[in-house]
């Protein structure tokens, strides 16, 4: 996909996160679409796209953030780099259940950061957020997987 369209797509997802997701909250929790996108992209082998999603998505979210500037960008870039090494060293093929398990771990760590910044926050919120994130990650993984297969088929034909 063209870089320009990739960036526009990530900006749209980040804006969706800021404008729509707060209204789709259940018990005050809404998942982070950028985090889900970064994890699913890299675990499907779209490393470059994953880095773009982490950087661009993070930067857009900084403008809506109440934390110090750089918080979201650094967290997402760190997630992307860790996953890139994990994927290139230990994981050979994309695996659906493993991807969901890895996403659950990353959501747990990401929420853990908020737990440190927010005293009195309940652990049950994190569990609820993991479940909500996995629900969104399910179709995301299959869409990316389908796109991955299409690319491979096109390359083989050529």
């Amino acid at each position: 996909m063209n870089k320009f369209f990739q960036i526009i797509f990530v900006i749209l997802i980040a804006l969706l996160q800021i404008t729509i997701m707060p209204f789709l909250s259940f018990y005050g929790v809404w998942p982070n679409l950028i985090l889900i996108l970064v994890v699913m992209l890299i675990l499907n082998g779209f490393n470059e796209e994953g880095f773009i999603a982490a950087g661009v998505g993070g930067l857009v979210m900084e403008f809506a953030s109440i934390y110090f500037f750089g918080f979201y960008s650094l967290v997402f870039v760190a997630v992307a780099v860790i996953l890139y090494f994990l994927n290139s060293r230990f994981l050979n093929e994309p695996n659906f259940y493993l991807s969901l398990a890895i996403l659950a771990i990353f959501v747990f760590v990401y929420d853990g950061i908020f737990l440190l910044l927010t005293p009195n926050m309940s652990w049950s919120t994190i569990i609820f957020n993991i479940a909500y994130s996995l629900l969104i990650a399910w179709p995301t993984y299959h869409l990316l997987s389908y796109y991955h297969k299409r690319i491979n088929e096109t390359e083989l034909t050529i």
């Binding site: 500037f69 870039v77 009195n120």
Partner: protein, 263 residues
């Protein structure tokens, strides 16, 4: 190699913007960003915003029917009280005139504000409103909705302000229980609104009103917060802890009023 180049560009850009932000030069772009997104947010609120509420309402249908019945009863009760109070007010006015009292002017003034943003993560209960320094908003002012306290101003930008809701974990509001006169600190959290640090010798009453105490000088005294729901302190604790029910639905806030205190 290309992916590392992307990464270096992103990190460099973040560092540059973080430095710019540290000098406060991003306050205007941030403010502009929220203002630009406001129409999209309004559309989202009136379309997507109805989805979770619909499911929640459906789930609590039996509770809603029960609540409706008790509210109708309460309404009738309040109507009769209101007519009595109107009579008392009339008598009061006459007596004041007789005693040459001048009617004291309302010491506060309300500024209506629309919600234009929420932070991307839902853990902190903060909101961004469309009124700021240029509208004489200042830090610490009380924020009211439907006559009840919902938060206070925590950050002020040129044309926008940040509000921390009383349901936020970090919010601490000095309050008083209207009948038992027990004072404490109202804190938000996932358990709901909780008043901590109420002395053990205070005999709390069920359903008594909770109002702001005015301690600390930031939030004026007498603003309604809600009603006492139940005592949740455990045995052996040195202070009492009670749960407070606010009639305000914090997920459906639309227009807020900032209580501007006259100098």
């Amino acid at each position: 190699m290309r992916k590392w180049r992307i990464l270096i560009i992103i990190i460099s850009l973040t560092i540059v913007l973080a430095v710019v932000s540290a000098f406060g030069w991003l306050n205007y772009p941030k403010s502009w960003f929220w203002k630009t997104l406001q129409p999209a947010r309004v559309v989202a609120q009136f379309s997507f915003g109805k989805i979770p509420n619909f499911f929640r309402d459906l789930f609590h249908l039996s509770t809603i029917i029960g609540q409706n019945k008790s509210l109708q009863e309460e309404n009738l009760n309040l109507q009769s009280k209101l007519s009595k109070l109107q009579e008392v007010e009339y008598e009061n006015e006459i007596l004041k005139k007789e005693l040459s009292f001048s009617r004291s002017e309302d010491s506060s003034q309300m500024i209506a504000a629309a919600i234009i943003g929420q932070p991307p993560s839902g853990y902190l209960r903060t909101l961004l409103i469309d009124k700021g320094e240029s509208n004489a908003i200042s830090k610490g002012q009380a924020v009211i909705s439907q006559g009840f306290l919902v938060g206070k101003v925590t950050k002020v930008y040129p044309s926008t302000s940040e509000i921390t809701l009383i349901t936020d974990f970090n919010s601490l509001i000095p309050v008083v229980l209207q009948n038992s006169r027990g004072t404490g600190l109202l804190r938000g959290g996932l358990d709901g609104l909780v008043i901590e640090s109420i002395p053990l010798n205070i005999q709390t009453e069920p359903q008594e009103n909770v109002i702001t105490s005015g301690l600390g000088g930031e939030i004026p005294a007498g603003i309604a917060v809600g009603k006492l729901k139940k005592v949740i302190s455990k045995e052996g604790e040195i202070f009492q802890k009670v749960l407070v029910a606010s009639p305000v639905d914090f997920s459906r806030l639309e227009v807020l009023f900032i209580l501007k205190r006259n100098e």
